[in-house]
Symmetry: C2
Subunit: 377 residues, 2 copies
Amino acid sequence: MKFIIQKDHLVQSVQDVMKAITSRTTIPILTGIKIVASEEGVTLTGSDSDISIESFIPKEEGDQEIVDIQQPGSIVLQAKFFSEIVKKLPTSQVEIMVDNLQTTIRSGKSEFNLNGLDSEEYPHLPQISEQNSIKVPTDLLKNIIKQTVFAVSTSETRPVLTGVNWKIENNDLICIATDSHRLALRKAKIETEEEQSFNIVIPGKSLNELNRILDDHDEPVEIFVTENQILFKTKHILFFSRLLEGNYPDTNRLIPTESKTDIVVNSKEFLQSIDRASLLAREGRNNVVKFSTMSDNVIEISSFTPEIGKVMEELVSESVSGEELKISFSAKFMMDALKVLEGSEVKISFTGAMRPFVIHPTNDDSTLQLILPVRTY
Amino acid sequence: MKFIIQKDHLVQSVQDVMKAITSRTTIPILTGIKIVASEEGVTLTGSDSDISIESFIPKEEGDQEIVDIQQPGSIVLQAKFFSEIVKKLPTSQVEIMVDNLQTTIRSGKSEFNLNGLDSEEYPHLPQISEQNSIKVPTDLLKNIIKQTVFAVSTSETRPVLTGVNWKIENNDLICIATDSHRLALRKAKIETEEEQSFNIVIPGKSLNELNRILDDHDEPVEIFVTENQILFKTKHILFFSRLLEGNYPDTNRLIPTESKTDIVVNSKEFLQSIDRASLLAREGRNNVVKFSTMSDNVIEISSFTPEIGKVMEELVSESVSGEELKISFSAKFMMDALKVLEGSEVKISFTGAMRPFVIHPTNDDSTLQLILPVRTY
């Protein structure tokens, strides 16, 4: 194998595939990056066996030559060293040459010799037939992930809750995450080639990594689903993730369809009030604040931690309608929800102090956040 | 106690005194910030008993009122909570009021009640008579600290080496730090009121904290020294540190006065070469690179780690004079030294492969860095 490549393209690709690589793997060759040089360009692969990322660097882009392939071939190099090396090379062109697993990396007056591993020993990526894709614009996909993934469970007692449930119903993609104390839901109209339907659970960790790798633009990501794998495909990147096994619980019955008290507040002011009200309660086991409606559309948010002190926040809401209410909830859950909702105003719909309540942006029913209250009153 | 204060001034002062406060203290009241309101303004104090920082907020600055003192008094508040609270308050003015240790903090529609502690129980700061000061411009002081403090020892086997030795000889301030494998020295002409002389050791940790608190400008810092304390005084901040006991070793004889090989290199290029040459050696116990002079002013820097691979760097120096040389040294020590030296070129003076060598900027003898080689050849 021998090729000369533009350093910045190599650095970017290495950075992308590094997101799948962990040093805590039980399969030693997965601490490496697989490099394949073909007539078309150079392909890098990283994997932790749950997530695999493949990044392709084409021979040329537009009129510009990016890689000069002098001899096709392949090698696996220690990711930790290879990624540090390429970042720090002195010149804009890099020559990589393999002779009998001995790999030479040359740039200006720098020369590295690395012991490589046989690429034949690198696990094969899942085979996914590229049929029946759905297409989602990148910025929408990032938004869908951001608005749901934070609510997955971090506990392994019910492994299926550590993932986000994606299902397609009538050309609607519906994404749901819950840790059984709160729930995040996001719907989106999507474009499919033919009538599609699936109901899968994607590990939260995979979606977080995918979000870090995607740039914010509106080019579509193509998504392919098989029984136990999902593939996200962009122009130069393939992102594979295994799916979680098991049936995702039916959460429909959790979401209240009517409400007894509706409150509209400025999202940012409300977030800051909750943040301050919980400042002294963070030490405690539950980080709980009390929320009460007062007269004249005023809302009072408070907390009391005997050893430290108490906080009292008043907030004038846009509107309060329905019954008076006193309720307690986790300040962290409320802040998590408010941070991902778009729009300057949110509507919160309560059905009593003991029942889950729903937060969504006013005039947008594509997304909702649900929180279970804490019984303190 | 009762006063109304501009939030931004309070936040800045709290941030400054927080640098002295640690939660790992054996004296519980030192987890608090002492607040004293007098007719002149508000004074905040934080301390970990080694370092104490006092920050003064005057009643007014120029024409602007900063504090409105309504009733003098004092209190100690938990630093962790108080600092978080003041940062997040909603309005630009803050009212603080103490009634029988119960402290109320009010800003807009936010009200915090904190349990305070009796300020009478807060330890007294060291008394330092403000005589015989030396004055050092702030930016020079920051430079002096930066160019020496990184070289202190991190091991407690010889506690005196965890500090920086400051001494005054003939109006020269001489600052030296060494961990016995390398040494950093910085001299500066200083301004004293009268003939001064001292020879003290300041804990490295204190100097690091001081450096983080000082802004980069050329107003002078006044420095007062007693037998076991040093005080750095700026316009609104008093920074006290205890001194280390014990005699600092005489390092004069360590520094070679003649050389057998002199090399002048571009500082940045040399730093980058050393950085790359050591990339594969960082795992190993010593992070050592080999350095050899070649013909035509070329320098070769290399390292070899059997399991991983090898690196070879070539660098064209500005000049090489004297004997040929092969020497090995710690890449980390060399990079630490190069990062703090100013100027685009450095001169490195060797007196053989087994002897300490000296690095300093060409045309500047106020600062030098000395490194002991490692025996590998």
